[in-house]
Amino acid sequence: MSGLTLVFGLFFYLSLAIFLVGFLAKTWKYAFTPAPLRIPQTPAPVSAAGVPVRMFQEVVFFKSLFRGNKLLWIGGYLFHLGLLFVLVEHLRFIIAPASSVLNTLVTYDLYSGFVLLAALTFLLILRVAIDRHLYISLASDYALLLLLLAIASSGLLSRFWDGGHIRMNLPQIKAFIGGLVTFNNIGSVPTNKLFLIHFSLVMLLLIYFPFSKLMHSGGLFFSPTRNQVDNPREKRWVTPWVKTRPTATLPSLEQQAPAAAAAPVQETAEVEG
């Protein structure tokens, strides 16, 4: 194993470990932080069976975003769809021999790559072109978009650069990545610079993932306004961190009356709802 293979191999394992541990730790926190009160955003499902339906509409169709902003929905939806296809198509670097379904899909990989690139560009344009979006955008928002753009560009470029050098090197990439994933027969790392750049950027993304807003991918499922059932009258919810109800004892009506008689009758017109 060459020194370069060792470096990139370790880089891969380190990134993957940070990603997995970080993602799980964050998701664990979301799952187990108590929810004291019932706060579904209504109208909400009135039975537990309705919650997966609501979640499905959000996760698969981005329903609320669609209601909120059509342009954003187009950009966001195409980006996520493109990403999904690109990720599936990348399985060819791991699965050997690739399945026939995957092979069919891979013949269209340029389309998904360009959709991904176009959607990211569109999202970046929205961020700077709409005054409100420009105002709320942070440096980290741009950085993430640029990182994703760089990943998509370098990936796509490798299909054209040097007469599709990467495609010709597929067996070598497969031997390296496939070996890393299966912990078995790790081939030496391809030395194509474009590949190394693409690979490194993806590793950076994995490392940054659990510390960033990308955690919306896990957090979405734990959003109380979306995942709670609207049945507080039918089913009593108990606040996990409240052990007992306070016993604020009131004076009896007889006790109340003399004190009340002594108190001045308030005649202000100030209204308090």
């Binding site: 926190k29 979301y30 932080t33 108590p34 929810a35 004291p36 009160l37 019932r38 706060i39 955003q41 209504t42 109208p43 499902p45 009135v46 959000e58 609320s64 975003l65 909120g68 954003l72 409100r132 979006h133 420009l134 105002y135 709320i136 955008s137 440096a139 980290s140 928002d141 950085a143 510390f211 807003k213 919306h216 957090g219 734990f222 959003s223 109380p224 306004t225 979306r226 609207d230 507080p232 009258r233 919810w237 108990v238 409240v242 109800r245 604020a248 009131l250 009506l253 109340q256 009356a257 004190a259 009340a260 008689a261 108190a263 009758v265 308030q266 017109a269 209204v271 308090e272 709802g273």
Partner: protein, 520 residues
């Protein structure tokens, strides 16, 4: 000669408001235009100086908060925020997962009405998120301002005080958020942190104090309540010639009605109270009000303080033990219905002593609707022929509760009541009703006169939608099911050149239409 000014404390500086605020609404055109975020406004928000009065030391201590800003306020705020993060899943998840997509940016009535960029829900949430990132996240610690992290300094605390009191916790933004991020949860947490370091808002904290000490937000003692109810009974008998009663503290009554105390005193609220009384009378119900539970509202929610909210709700529990009713009915009030419907069972339940045949609690609209469906009361629509009516969905009812058995019953049931009470009913623009309804601009503890500019700005979208149907259909009555909406619109309508009596209650219409007397 003016007295020499005392030296300003930090608290004075943080809560110092601009003077000379503009309290007149813009011209009504019927259109809701999204303001442009201009360069100049980015530096200084137009409403950064619109701040409510700070709570006085005695109000703070009465609620168990420090009497004034504590010396180590930054440290104390971070500590309290850390505690809340452990206790509230909503806060933890929502501070983490916002991607600043921008979907919410044009949805808040306070942004639409003011053009102040910090009133975009995401920008408002970022005020707290900056501090969260600074002290609680790796990203913020490593990248600082690039990741939007910022320490809680005097300037930022001043912005918290201004802008978390320009959120009515109406949850409209949450409807359009791909992850359902609820700014209400964030603004409640921010207010809880501020109270914990001795920085409270006078109106809300004073009102909670009155509720805990006297039993209602108005600070109306039982004797005054007795007098008021008697005079309302006299008024009804004079007007309709029927002895409709408003019983108080009747032990063993079948129905306990808990209603916002504004219903006893304020106008047009009292008209709805008369409406409930007529409904109970005509249904032949054995009902009562309670002096111990003479308030359905509970401002503990507005400041995100679980303990105070539960303590205040405990009065309802005690009233149930005292009266031993079979049913629990709640009057017209938005945030109160949210708390009653969504939280009471958790806070003061289970309601084992009530008759399980009925929902506990039940909204007065559900109660009346059921009577109408069964033909137990009759309504004469002609009694309201002078009105062309529209309905404003109250935010807390629309997005944080339900009526009836099906999702969306909170939209259909009040409308059915209105349609049963009058001949002419018109809907406002569907982009401004049901779950997309705008807040009146006075919810969440903002119903106080020193921030009238905020309230007028927040009312803008509803006012435009109302203006549109006033012009097109001759609407002259906007029916409401919330005490805060009623008080807010009564104050704000004239500032838009609309007569204040356009605002009224749903049960005001029911009360006018109901046929009193012997049943057929």
């Amino acid at each position: 000669m003016a007295e020499p000014a005392a030296e300003k404390t930090l608290l004075d500086i943080i809560t110092e408001a601009d003077t000379d605020r503009n309290v007149k609404g813009p011209e009504l055109t019927g259109e809701i235009n999204v303001p442009r975020v201009e360069e100049g406004r980015i530096v200084k928000g137009v409403l950064s100086g619109a701040k409510p009065y700070a709570a006085k030391p005695d109000m703070m201590t009465a609620l168990g908060f420090p009497d004034t800003l504590v010396d180590n306020w930054e440290e104390a705020a971070v500590k309290r925020l850390g505690e809340l993060l452990e206790k509230y899943k909503s806060l933890q998840v929502y501070l983490d997962i916002c991607v600043r997509c921008g979907s919410c940016t044009d949805k808040c009535q306070f942004f639409l009405g003011s053009g102040d960029p910090n009133n975009m829900p995401v920008a408002r949430a970022e005020l707290l998120r900056r501090v969260y990132k600074k002290y609680f996240t790796t990203e913020g610690k490593l990248f600082g301002k690039l990741a939007g992290a910022h320490r809680l300094d005097l300037k930022l605390l001043g912005d918290w005080y201004a802008y978390f009191h320009q959120c009515s916790q109406c949850r409209r933004c949450s409807v359009f958020c791909p992850y359902g991020i609820d700014t209400a949860e964030i603004s409640m947490a921010a207010r809880e942190v501020m109270n914990a370091i001795g920085l409270g808002q006078k109106y809300t904290d004073m009102t909670i104090g009155k509720l805990l000490e006297i039993g209602n937000n108005l600070g109306m003692n039982p004797k005054a309540l007795v007098n008021t109810l008697e005079s309302i009974e006299e008024d009804i008998e004079e007007e309709d010639g029927v002895p409709v009663k408003l019983p108080l503290d009747v032990e063993g009554a079948d129905i306990l009605l808990v209603t916002p105390s504004a219903d006893f005193f304020a106008s047009p609220h009292v008209e709805s109270l008369i409406g409930y009384a007529k409904v109970f009378h005509q249904a032949g119900a054995n009902w009562t009000l309670s002096s111990a539970a003479s308030e359905a509202g509970n401002f503990g929610m507005f400041i995100g303080n679980y303990t105070l909210m539960q303590k205040a709700a405990t009065r309802i529990h005690n009233a149930i033990e005292q009266i031993r009713p079979k049913r629990l009915v709640v009057g017209e009030c938005g945030h109160a219905w949210r708390i009653a419907y969504s939280f009471w069972n958790t806070l003061i339940g289970p309601f084992d002593s009530l008759d399980p045949k009925y929902p506990a609690p039940q909204h007065i609209c559900e109660y009346t609707y059921d009577l109408i469906k069964r033909g137990a009361i009759k309504l004469n629509k002609e009694a309201n022929d002078e009105f062309t009516v529209t309905f404003h969905d109250s935010c807390n009812v629309a997005r944080a509760s339900r009526m009836g058995n099906r999702p969306g019953g909170q939209f259909t049931i009040p409308r059915e009541l209105i349609k049963a009470s009058c001949n002419k009913y018109v809907e406002m623009d569907p982009e401004t009703t049901k779950e997309k309804t705008f807040c009146c601009g006075g919810g969440g503890g903002l119903l106080t006169d020193e921030i009238m500019e905020t309230r007028v700005a927040g009312a803008m979208p509803r006012m435009q939608a109302l203006h549109a149907v006033m012009k097109s259909d001759g609407v002259n009555f906007m029916a409401l099911i919330c005490a805060i909406c009623k008080a807010q619109f009564t104050a704000v309508l004239p500032r838009y050149g609309v007569p204040m009596d356009v605002a009224g209650g749903v049960h005001q219409l029911v009360g006018r239409a109901i046929e009193l007397g012997a049943k057929e």
